[in-house]
């Protein structure tokens, strides 16, 4: 059994303690807030100058001056603040965020991240990805374990252009939770019923299985959403 995209987001949410200040990338990372426990106060940062992004605005209730970094119309939570781009990147570059969660094209065994330019992509765009990858303390990757073509996205060495070297701390996929440590990748958790060897088989770099490697604590369903398939 493997996690759905929602399941990955659920698992990531469990790693964010109260008081976290978190920047979220597009895709799976953007789904994390739906799974944050309402008794944990956590502030979501958006590059365009918001601290305290809330859920997407309901249809008809969009505020023309409130979008997130993905340009979607969002709401703001109580206690949210707004600021200019200088302050927003002071927050990022100055290391003030506690976490960032981003997608990846590839992650290498040494923590190198490639997520800004697909092979063959003709028009490049980087946005705030490099500032985040170079400067946020706890950089978490949330992604499917393998590509659409079934190829490992966790690799010995990235072939796509790097976003930043040695930056990823932890990888959350539909199969596993993997830490990037000085000696290499450490398998910490596996999806329910998945053997470490099966994770290794879909991974392009050697995994050391942690002594306390365990099954992820993710329910099959949450609020009617399927988390495990």
């Amino acid at each position: 059994m493997i996690l759905t995209r929602e399941g990955i987001a659920y698992r990531v949410a469990g790693d964010l303690p109260e008081g976290s200040y978190v920047n979220l990338g597009i895709g799976i990372p953007s789904m994390v807030p739906a799974y944050l426990s309402s008794d944990k106060e956590i502030f979501i940062h958006s590059e365009n100058g918001i601290l305290g992004v809330g859920p997407m605005a309901a249809t008809g209730e969009e505020d023309p001056d409130v979008v997130d970094a993905a340009k979607g119309y969002v709401t703001l939570v109580p206690g949210a603040s707004v600021f200019d781009h200088v302050t927003s990147f002071t927050i990022i570059r100055g290391g003030h965020l506690t976490h960032a969660i981003i997608g990846a094209i590839e992650v290498a065994a040494n923590g190198d991240l490639a997520n800004w330019r697909m092979p063959g992509q003709k028009v490049p765009g980087v946005g705030g990805a490099m500032d985040i990858a170079f400067n946020v303390k706890n950089l978490f990757v949330a992604m499917t374990h393998v590509s659409n073509k079934g190829e490992p996205k966790i690799v010995a060495r990235c072939t796509s252009p790097l976003t930043a070297p040695h930056c990823v701390r932890r990888i959350f996929t539909d199969l596993a939770v993997i830490d990037v440590e000085r000696e290499g990748l450490v398998l910490r958790e596996v999806a329910p019923g998945v053997e470490p060897a099966a994770v290794q088989a879909q991974t392009g770099a050697p995994l050391r299985v942690a002594g306390d490697c365990r099954e992820m604590d993710v329910p099959v369903e949450f609020n009617g959403v399927r988390l495990i398939d």
Partner: protein, 235 residues
């Protein structure tokens, strides 16, 4: 009496010349000076160098300038919004040069120009292709890239409220690049939704002091800038 107000957008941008470099405020739609940009489009100014986070959306404002072939170079961090098809077409045809800059470096380069700095070392970029050919220097064991100031002939920005002195206040997330671009261009032109009397902006809510502003014009919010349903179906 100082009076920086002008009657309409056409007058506000009349001095923008062919070949000018222009900073355009805004991120997504919020804070985009769409009325000023449309006025530039109407007056036919061309051969422009644009500085903006993205590359415009749709066939309107900055997107429209790309569609009309008025821009020869873009400095941006994220010109790949699905709505930026006008830029995309021009770029793939080779009509537009692109200088791609990480978003934090883009804003810091603009700030350096506005604050009179000669350059700065940022930790963002070493070892990536966006730092290729740039000076890398180690401070306290960490690598930094030397980045240079980025200024422009004009900055076109948008604010929520403003007065005849050029004092500006922004609403929520429309602030983004606007205040810093206001510091970094020779001539700063602002569109505001409300022109108010001097003294009616709370002193603590003035985000851009008037010293940075040259011309200010009151506009109506263009409905093409806010159509969540259409935007939703397009993406």
């Amino acid at each position: 009496m100082i009076d920086k107000t002008v009657a309409n957008c056409g007058e506000a941008v009349a001095q923008v010349f062919d070949g000018a470099s222009i900073m355009f405020g805004g991120f997504g739609n919020p804070g985009v000076p769409a009325n000023l940009i449309e006025a530039i489009r109407r007056q036919g100014t061309t051969n422009l160098v644009a500085i903006h986070n993205g590359a415009g959306i749709g066939d309107f404002a900055l997107g429209g300038l790309f569609q009309d072939g008025r821009i020869r170079k873009l400095t941006a961090s994220f010109p790949i919004n699905p709505g930026s098809w006008a830029f995309r077409e021009r770029y793939l045809k080779g009509d537009v040069e692109l200088e791609l800059v990480p978003q934090g470096t883009l804003v810091e380069r603009i700030r350096a120009a506005g604050a009179g700095l000669g350059g700065f070392y940022t930790p963002t970029g070493p070892g990536t292709e966006l730092a290729a050919g740039k000076e890398v220097r180690i401070f306290n064991g960490r690598e930094y890239v030397l980045e240079m100031p980025l200024d422009a002939d004009f900055a076109l920005i948008k604010a929520y409220r403003g007065d005849r002195l050029g004092n500006l206040s922004y609403r929520k997330a429309m602030r983004n690049f606007n205040p810093i671009m206001a510091t970094a261009a020779k001539v700063v032109i602002v569109e505001v939704e409300e022109l108010v009397a001097v003294g009616s902006l709370s002193m603590e809510e003035i985000h851009t002091p008037g010293i940075f502003v040259d011309h200010i014009v009151q506009i109506n919010r263009d409905p093409r800038l806010f159509d969540p349903q259409k935007e939703r179906s397009a993406s």
